[in-house]
Symmetry: C2
Subunit: 331 residues, 2 copies
Amino acid sequence: MRTRQGQPAGGKNPGERSLLERIRSRAARQAADLRLGIGDDCALLAPEPGEEVAVTTDLSIAGRHFLLEWHRPEVVGHRTLARGLSDLAAMGARPLGAFVSLGLPVELTRKRGSRSSWIEDFFTGFLALARPYRTPLAGGDLAQSPLALADVVLVGAVPRGRALLRSGARPGDLLYVTGRLGGAAAGLAALRASGPKFRELLRSHLYPQPRVAQGLWLQRRGVATAAIDLSDGLSTDLHHLCEESRVAAEVDATRLPVHPSATLDQALNGGEDYELLFTAPSRTRVPRSIAGVAVTAIGRIAPRDRRRPLVALMTGTGGEPLEARGWEHFA
Amino acid sequence: MRTRQGQPAGGKNPGERSLLERIRSRAARQAADLRLGIGDDCALLAPEPGEEVAVTTDLSIAGRHFLLEWHRPEVVGHRTLARGLSDLAAMGARPLGAFVSLGLPVELTRKRGSRSSWIEDFFTGFLALARPYRTPLAGGDLAQSPLALADVVLVGAVPRGRALLRSGARPGDLLYVTGRLGGAAAGLAALRASGPKFRELLRSHLYPQPRVAQGLWLQRRGVATAAIDLSDGLSTDLHHLCEESRVAAEVDATRLPVHPSATLDQALNGGEDYELLFTAPSRTRVPRSIAGVAVTAIGRIAPRDRRRPLVALMTGTGGEPLEARGWEHFA
């Protein structure tokens, strides 16, 4: 954790300085491919020979991506890291390290009476997810800000030329999705309706599990022709995949693995499920589950045709255009 | 550039969508070690065999690290990238790619009458610095935010085991600095006193030049035992170097290369000069300039001794403790 002006760099604020030392020591306990972590000008990561480096950044802002009143700091820590790990999952990359830049009002860096500070609880949630995914906290930045925000960077490694891209889908490929869809949006709707006290019911919204093992499996077996993670919602993310692959797609509404608490609309447009959407040639055998998570064929890839929608939703009675209606967070 | 909810991902806002396409096409023009840039779940970077990956993140927030009233968007773009490139310079790393996460009020993404938008001018300044340093814009994130902020991530490569660390200084080493000190603080003081109209005089504050070539030279020749960049100010950054190397230091006040417009206090505590501070054994021949930038020996490394200050400033009449008084930006 590098410190900046107005921060304890100069030893002006012993309380914050010791906070940063505590974060540093908690982070250092879980190093793996990390050659040099917090405390120098840069962190140093060591991919294996023949590997490329995958990098993703995700900015989360209070009032937009999370609400301080609704989301405990542990939840914010978990969710911000899950967003980045899910991007690595969608490339079939193995995590090397995470970096987190925090802008925080000063009161969130201070102890709350006898309780630990918001920032310490944020790292509790962050590190609790980082540990099972073997992702060391390798660095970051901290600045005072009137608005709470976290920019999380994930760096991963993937054998050269083996990354799962959005652009590899071909007409005739089948379309697959891991897990179930709409649970995160249904959880959020319940949170909106009932307030924070039903939090325990809302794990898929509060604690999404990125599909890193599933992405690695697809990459290692060479099964997928294209992949993307469902952060913005199936309708929007499938548009991204079709645009990058220059193809069209048809989704079979009756085959969608809708979460039992979710509506079809939440499954199509809900976002933040952090499942993987991928394509594979129709002759390829894709298992019904990967690393314990169900995989469902939900449609097929078609050639682009100006007379037909880029993405169509097929129902029993015919097809209709599926517009990109990615989820709107708390805006 | 990945887009997020509330952003044009779903094609809801064709103006912003075309803006992002324009940024993407401007960024794509300068790819180098970049295998895959903006438009997928992650960017892919390809270090050479035997290289490690250096990563640094720097968060800049309006009102704290820059002022929208004082700093034109081109200046903010330049300065936020310079902060990160300077961290790579201090490791002796070669830039592979840059990532920028922007949180912006919506009006900064819109055209200003017939003029281009703030965000486009930000990228003009960012890319104008990126180009000569061969640093492709590889990705990032964009979100609406009531507060303008930029988190810039730099990824670089350095041969395994060859990075310049803060922790390598040994008693007896001499202490060197590139360029001149205090110019950025003197420029800022002039800006404070006179307002934006004397901007042209203020290049070292507005357009600092990171010392990437000098850091690479030191790394390739194996000259430096430790290095750090002067972002927080000589007094604070030298404390960091001494702490990481577990040594003490003496700075000779009469030998400091103080910028002709700066005071001694600005040279010691001003910050944002983005020069390199490094150490080398006293028997090592260090040239008087590297890649066109002057190098000055300004002191020496000593063993730690509880009876003496960690960092001392030596004047003609003796020594005094040099406290870490890193610069306070606009707080």
